[in-house]
Assembly symmetry: C2
Homo-oligomer: 551 residues x 2
């Protein structure tokens, strides 16, 4: 999302914390406007506020402003006198230096200090990188000192990570240089957001849970086909020590001073794509409204939010806001990339089928859907009216236009009112799509059919072998975190709108034993992005002590 | 150095800062007991205090307690009512998880919070890692998008770094996987302390200087033998942005509440091995006594401290404390590793020749030497008396025994009194060993002969070619940062005592154009340590919220 580079006059973080009833003793300050919040706050303030999830229809490449809408809704609720707290993901440094720019919202709905959040922030990503790579170093060190007799260097599952878009590190041969330098083998780096440790950090409910999950990470196999875990490499304690501070959620403020936890940033395809359980729970414990988001479209991010994060952590939402934009609807109606900002009511109307499917999907979880049209300045009133009438008259779901990018909380008051009116008054638990105890193919079917609309699942030979191994090792009771393109409801990124009658192909099934899910892979997944020809990093500078060029 | 794992009751960092006349507005807090200090403090408080350098005789593998002595001396001066500030290096995470353990002093002379300083601290090492690896990513990205027609992938000088002891990354082949994944080439990782960016951070006098040095880093050559700089890759601004906070020095406290800047940690062989210029200057600006250290023995670390850091930054010392231990003297007298803690006055007396040479070396810089015997509990009074008599009667240099490890500042009062008595009353500038404008072989000779006692220098064919290239590109007016073993005055790590009549062989000459020195390499230099068979990381844990096992 584009954002202006001017930072508003920020309030001291102690004042933001005071809005949540927190005192200085609850905080670990990082400068004047950022703080980590101590974990014992969770015990003093158990979750009780209403949780609102912001998700989106199938997005364009530029995204539909989910983060901006989440922040805008929070500010809108605050305008209406509500006690509200945001819970968002941390941006990754790599994409920020690459093409995408920062991820702190935009316009009058941002989190601040944006530049610091986009760069090192409080060091959580660096801590995840260090813990991940310590495990790699301990593993290769074990192979080096033991010889290759036990661990099979060809069956190492654990990759190193770096918080950088660095395509040259995707596939490497390491351990070269002779007997004193290691054991040659194939390997590679993923971006830090794709580290299983990031997913673990985000799913851990407390210190003990963090340690338990780190211990059970599967890193390799022996020549006898026995799994090698992080714990068997004596890596658990040191990894936990490296993550000790990272487990505390980070408190910052929005453009209008709404408290915001920004904590954890896992991928939404090979991981579950939402901020930490601890941040979400803390937001619910400290405010009457906790507003959060889940990565990409509802089918991808929100499904994982419910079936993995909420089931695992015992969370429940009071309503789901589905963000739609005119440009994405036009794309789903057949408009090409260059045409998305031109008025085109016909294609927009045609594209509403995508919205329909996502609304149905929200209802499959038996949660109240609220459609939010995130207004762009190229939208016409006629276009917006089409979406409103479709939602109110045909779908019969609550609808609001929001103009939080341009107007901040004032622009989101309609949305905030709609949310307050339609959120569950009495908690009514969501219904997960599947039971974790079901077998893996059943779980995959329930998601692919129930969410994506697939009519058939095919498994590659590799995926079939993976299934057998997962059953053999007792991992078949884990939830499924399906890696699928974010550009379509189907597994084909070119199928816009509401694809029908398609088959989803499972190519392989990966395991994140520590995070606690299996990953059926249905397409190319990019775990280490590359830099574009003209990377954003080449335009960043420090001028008069201020960072410029982070979009 | 071993340290107890108990942390004393720490004072709020604001109170420590107040001892230096700093207010909250001067600080960027990182928790309650760590803070970065804003750079404008330098302008308000120009250097005026006396600078004391702590160095050592040729050390054993375990080190002779230079850091502990530096902290002890600071505490001793404070006991005598002096206004004092320490300036020390930041520990590297890699060795802390490997064999060496932490680097925050020991016993009653430590800097705190030790565990946090040893792990992520305020993120400076992570920032250096990110800036270093961004440059790599931009370089490989350029090669990828331009094709291989311009930059020669076989002549890339810039390596990636990681703050981890990871031997498997020393030599790698990267860019594998076909046309979409990059351009295959040889490469590798160094540990972050060996990054030229760490040296740059430590030599930069201010933001502008940092930027200038980053811009001129030499990363590769074109097929036409033209140098490719960081600036030509448009990397300068983004690297500066990543290092923006890291340039501010970190303030913590010693066991007895003495203020301590801990900032920057470059290697002492391929770099200059001392904390940042900014931290040293700030300590001198805020206190009457600034106590600092330089890596390894005087010949290696202190020579670079004077000829590179002090010349570059316009610094000068008031005295040099040379740390000796009975065990190191016994080693230089011929005792074997297992014999160093047994009484052995004869070998100890024989080993004093090493001490003699270092005292002469201090005098070559025309600075007042003070010998400090860092007391260990295995030392006998008879042994200590031999050293005292040798220093006072034969060398006629001030001598003090210090027991700061066991007794803190009280144990260092004799040392502190001796320093106060013998430090220059009126500033008397040191004399560098050479003039930067001299040619490289002359500079190498003046260090190798003047410091190490070499009688001859030999150059390999490679080194001769390197000399020609450096002259061709105009880098011959840079100071020489000689990479040599720390275990001997000579370039042969097995020659203890005071080697005579030896030849130093220059194998190659590297360039750190950004940091601003050339590196004549005289032996194997380890830029990426490996983990031992039983790494310290396997013994680290978090118990009841406290980190255990970081020695």
């Amino acid at each position: 999302m584009p954002s202006d580079s001017t930072t508003p006059e920020l309030q001291p973080i102690t004042e933001i914390a005071a809005k949540l009833g927190l005192t200085e003793a609850d905080l670990v300050p990082y400068g004047r406007t950022k703080a980590k919040v101590r974990l014992n706050v969770l015990e003093k303030h158990p979750p009780k506020g209403k949780l609102i999830l912001v998700s989106a229809i199938t997005p364009t490449a530029a995204g539909e402003g989910k983060t901006t809408t989440t922040i805008g809704l929070g500010q809108g609720l605050a305008k209406l006198g509500q006690r509200v707290c945001l819970a968002l993901r941390e941006p990754s440094l790599g994409p920020c230096l690459g093409m995408k720019g920062g991820a702190t919202g935009g316009g009058q709905s941002q989190v601040h200090p944006a530049d610091e959040i986009n760069l090192h922030f409080t060091g959580d990503f660096h801590a995840v990188t260090a813990a991940n790579n310590l495990l790699s170093a301990l593993l290769d060190n074990r192979i080096y000192h033991e010889g290759m007799s036990r661990i099979d260097p060809r069956r190492i599952q654990w990759r190193r990570v770096m918080d950088m878009n660095d395509r040259a590190l995707r596939n490497i041969v390491l351990g070269l240089g002779g007997v004193l330098q290691g054991v040659p083998r194939e390997g590679g780096f993923d971006i830090t957001a794709a580290s299983e440790i990031m997913a673990i950090l985000c799913l851990a409910g407390n210190f003990g849970d963090l340690k338990k999950r780190l211990a059970r990470i599967l890193v390799a196999f022996t020549h006898n086909d026995e799994p090698v875990t992080a714990d068997s490499l004596n890596a658990t304690g040191a990894m936990t020590a490296l993550l000790k501070d990272a487990l505390m959620p980070n408190l910052v403020q929005s453009t209008e001073g709404v408290p915001a936890f920004i904590h954890g940033g896992p991928f939404a395809n090979i991981a579950h794509g939402c901020n930490s359980v601890i941040a979400t729970k803390m937001a619910m414990g400290l405010a009457d409204w906790a507003v959060t988001e889940a990565g990409f479209g509802f089918d991808l991010g929100a499904e994982k939010f419910f079936d993995i994060k909420c089931v695992s952590a015992g969370l429940d939402t009071a309503a789901v806001v589905l963000v739609a934009t005119c440009r994405a609807l036009k794309m789903h109606g057949g408009a090409q990339k260059g045409e998305l900002t031109s008025p085109d009511p016909e294609r927009l109307a045609k594209g509403l089928v995508n919205l329909d499917r996502h609304v149905e999907n929200i209802k499959r979880f038996r949660e109240p859907p609220i459609v939010c049209l995130n207004r762009f300045d190229t939208d016409t009133d006629a276009e917006i009216q089409i979406v409103r009438e479709h939602c109110e008259n045909k779908l019969k779901v609550p609808f609001a236009v929001s103009d939080h990018f341009a107007k901040g909380g004032d622009g989101a008051v309609e949305l905030a009112r709609t949310v307050m009116e339609h959120a569950e008054k009495v908690p009514d638990p969501f219904h997960p799509l599947y039971d974790w105890a079901e077998d893996i193919p059943t779980k995959i079917w329930k998601v692919a059919n129930g969410m994506y609309g697939a009519e058939k699942i095919e498994y590659s030979k590799k995926a079939e072998r993976d299934l057998k191994s997962l059953e053999k090792w007792g991992y078949d009771n884990l939830p499924v975190c399906i890696a699928k393109t974010q550009s379509s409801l189907s597994d084909d990124p070119k199928l816009y709108g509401r694809p029908l009658g398609f088959t989803v192909t499972v190519r392989e099934i990966l395991l994140s034993a520590g995070a606690g899910f299996v990953i059926p892979v249905t397409g190319e997944i990019m775990r280490m992005p590359g830099l574009p020809k003209n990377p954003q990093a080449e335009h960043i500078d420090v001028v008069d002590g201020h960072i410029e060029g982070i979009k």
